[in-house]
Amino acid sequence: MSAPGSPRLVDSFTAPREILKEFEELAEEEDVDPFAETASKRQIAQRQSDYHNRRFSRVAVDSADAFQGEGAEGEGGYKEAMRLQMLEKEEQRVKRAIEEKEKKAREEDQEKMDLDKTPPAAELEAAEKELAAAASTKRKRRWDVDTTEKTDTGEWGKEALDAAAPKKRRSRWDATPADVADTPKRSRWDMTPAAAGGDAPMIPILMNAPGIMMEDKHNRYLSDDELDAVLPSQGYAIVTPPPGYAPLIAPRKLMATPLPDVGGFQIQESSDAAAMAAAAGLAPELPTEIPGVGNLAFFKAEDAQYFAKILKEEDETELSVEEMKERKIMRLLLKIKNGTPPVRKTALRQITDKARDFGAGPLFDKILPLLMERTLEDQERHLLVKVIDRVLYKLDDLVRPYVHKILVVIEPLLIDEDYYARVEGREIISNLSKAAGLAHMISTMRPDIDHADEYVRNTTARAFSVVASALGIPSLLPFLKAVCKSKKSWQARHTGIRIVQQIAIMMGCAVLPHLRNLVECIAHGLSDEQQKVRTMTALGLAALAEAAAPYGIESFDNVLKPLWMGIRLHRGKGLAAFLKAIGFIIPLMDPEYASYYTKEVTVILIREFQTSDEEMKKIVLKVVKQCAATEGVTPQYIKQDILPDFFKAFWVRRMALDRRNYRQVVETTVELAQKAGASEIIGRIVNELKDEAEPYRKMVMETITKVVASLGASDVDEKLEVRLVDGIIYSFQEQTTEDQVMLDGFGTVVNALGIRVKPYLTQIVSTILWRLNNKSAKVRQQAADLTSRLAVVIKQCGEDQLLSKLGLVLFEQLGEEYPDTLGSIIAAEGAIANVVGMTQMNPPVKDLLPRMTPILRNRHEKVQEASINLIGRIADRGAEFVPAREWMRICFELLDLLKAHKKGIRRAAVNSFGYIAKSLGPQDVLSVLLTNLRVQERQSRVCSTVAIAIVAETCGPFTCIPAILNEYRTAELNVRTGCLKALSFVFEYVGPQSAYYVDSVVTMLEDALTDRDLVHRQTASTIVKHLALGVAGLGCEDSMMHLMNLVWPNCFETSPHVIGAVMDAIEAMRVTLGPGVLLSYVLQGLFHPARKVREVYWRVYNALYLGAQDALVPFYADLSELSEGQNVYDRHPLQVFI
């Protein structure tokens, strides 16, 4: 087979060399974990932004329970929390000051270096002295070992440090505690180990910042010994650090700090060497079976540190009650977090039931640290959150001391990108606030309101809005008022206003009753001295107005003036927020006010049209859209004052490049067109259809499409019409990208113009014909698609020759090899056949159909769907033009289509059987279908049964039922089930007609209902159901009663599908036989000694009762003889006679 000149034939093929090499490399690196990448994607912390991960740097405090009396005052509490918060703020301030100072020093230093390349004499001297000292001691010393002589932290020392070792400069990240989590080796807790140990209420939740896991064998520092071994001893000198060098953090030393000292949520036990080793990754095998827990679905290295205590066997008798409890909780949590679903379920139930025994403390001490684990995955988080939810419900007010800790862990969920996480978070916080009470929630969250970290304030605001929705806005209002007016810090006011904003966003129109109060609450913020507060106020007002729309303008009266004044005073972000608020308030106004205020704001809007800020552009467009949509703004005003500037600023090529701008501009223009009229807008942009930039043409086309679709083309005058059609043809021809926009536009505009396109049709059709023969498959496909859209209009214009010409060309194209294109061509042919009718169709149907038969074998979905639709149409309308043989051939092809994945195709195929049967007579089609019941594939059989039922429906049941009954006698199970199923569909479709056939099928149903096979009885019950519903009130009670007696014993079946079908049949019997008869069946077992019987009977009774409550009254038995003592069971009103 090789070409004549080729050197030799390769007799075996193997993978390309680079692939083989890749595998070799992979094999070499033994530690490579192929799942590492996907695992990191599953981890929440890995995919979240830095902002989200700031949660790891939060500190939780114990919240004292104010309702518990004096005893609890000792630790924690509001006062303590406020004190801590002050401390933290001070700490941040100092840090910032230090940083500032250092930066200044560095800059100065830089200048000095620039000016004078020689280091100052003093520095040189110091360095020499150090070198001498090092030589005398003879001891190898590493530069970062903390020694006493290096405590000089004076200004001079620092300069020396910077000059001598500029690389070792502290990075900005070490300074801000907010970002501690990002540094791999240092966390704030490392720096002040002593403080953390002594300060009881300040309990860090995070023990998981990577810095903690310093025993990691890959990342730990090299020791002196190791360095000695690695580096040659001669020819190298160890340079001592410069005299002024004082490492701010000495990692090596701190590494020795025993971790458990930190206290709090820490679980790790230093004594447990095995677990430590496991946590450090030294012991690679992770257990899958834990004593007392059993098999787990998975176990991660990180889990070992939390569950260390239960990983090994212990003598339970030596443990105290508390320790036992702790281990029990850990086992349950491990089961819930890592177990298989059934294990998880029972564990969850246990932990819920025993929650009050365990107590809030031990439970949350275990749960919360798990939630702050960095490698937490979605599933684990979901489960743990679920645990908290269940436990909260049980613990009720016992959670009070843990409110803040829970909040710290749950609040981040409120800003999660996953919707369900947000919902979960909301749910928990709302339950928490119901359990702990408003006063406690406020006192717990109050300190966070003016927290130094924006992240904390943001999440706190969201949490507060959840509290408001859980406990009602009115109860929170006094507090909100106070916070929004806080004089102490602008952060508090900012957060207060943000709470109102979040309330509006979350509760929507539910804010209406409190709208005035909420607006009053934040109104003064518009004139706040802090820019950020003013911006937030405007955003809050926007959110309130959006939530309240279209009501509540009277509540905004107070803020209108400051808002409209504000837009003249502000620039940039502030202005954007103000404009946004105005944009949402204007639609609430009465028409005349809206018009006045719109005019006021338009000046600014037009000025901001020129802005280069993307955000501002978007807001301006939005506001223009909102203003244009209000009733009070007149078309005249829009045409004169807005349109000229609007088009100048936004209808430029540049806007088409950014996706979001593009959409905004199109939306706004369409909105303006609603007021200004279609021709005004189209006239302004129609020339751009011939622009040289394609994205821009697309933007124009999309706008025209939308405008024409909503307003029609009736006000497009003759001149504009010429330009429009010309432009559309041009842009359609010039398009290079394959998308729907041009096609849709063409279709919409031509359909809107209707008969007015007649003069252009010749040109359009010749374009299509030309493009149908294009080299590119996509172009041909588009031309075909366009044909299907235009067919109706061409017919309207009476251009039948054009249609027949198109039909012929498309017919010739049926040999198309690209399936997508072929599908479009068939669809176009179908559209033409649709409008001209089967008799006038050119090519004639008798030629077209045989051509379609082989195409039916095409496996492409689009082709299948288009051809089945065309064939179904022909079978429906013009079956007589095609010989019966051809139809039978098609029947066999259609059987294959029953296997299609797409439901639409299967349905079309099944319907086609009906049409074909109608024209040919049912016998042949039916025999094809009944034979098909023998095939293996279930889907094919099911579809055949449906097709049989449709044939029965179209040709009358009498043509099919005998054949089905005959087929039922086959000894094959599949066939019998198929027959039953077909009958069930038949009776479903024919409804009341089934009354004529009841007696003929009763014997077969007797057989089926007494069969041993479950499925038989199930399907037979379904038949009985359809039969019973069909013949209700038609006098078939005798046969139905018989069937009822056969169905009834099946009510004890347990398989879900069977019992479902049986219950349905019984329910249907209620309709036919009447509730009284059913009640007599049910009464026998309602008080049966066996519970299993009672349960089933009550189930039937309940269904009966709900279906016919009133009708049952006369059928209830007279149970007066059961009366005893005070209880008289006579129904006296029924015993009255006249």
Binding site: N1102, D1110, Y1116
Partner: protein
């Protein structure tokens, strides 16, 4: 529990049914069931004007009075609930 699991496919329906007044369950007492029957009977009389007039004629009362009495009787149609057994 176990019976609920047996009807997994239909448990939702069962829960739905249990939410309506008048439906019963396997542990329902004679008193409860009959009370519901009485209430249904009474409300049926109130709801069907023909039944109300029939009773009114028989008792020689106004239909309004009959309606009122029937409604009143719904409170404890079979007398107070019997004392609970120890179990």
């Amino acid at each position: 529990m176990s019976s609920e699991l047996r009807y997994t496919a239909n448990t939702q329906l069962e829960h739905l049914h249990a939410r309506y007044t008048g439906t019963g369950h396997a542990d329902m007492s004679k008193y409860d069931w009959l009370t519901h029957q009485h209430r249904d009977t009474l409300s049926s009389i109130v709801g069907h004007p023909t039944l109300t007039s029939y009773l009114a004629i028989a008792d020689g009362e106004a239909t309004g009075r009959i309606k009122f009495e029937m409604t009143e009787r719904m409170l404890q149609p079979c007398g107070p609930p019997p004392a609970k057994d120890e179990d």
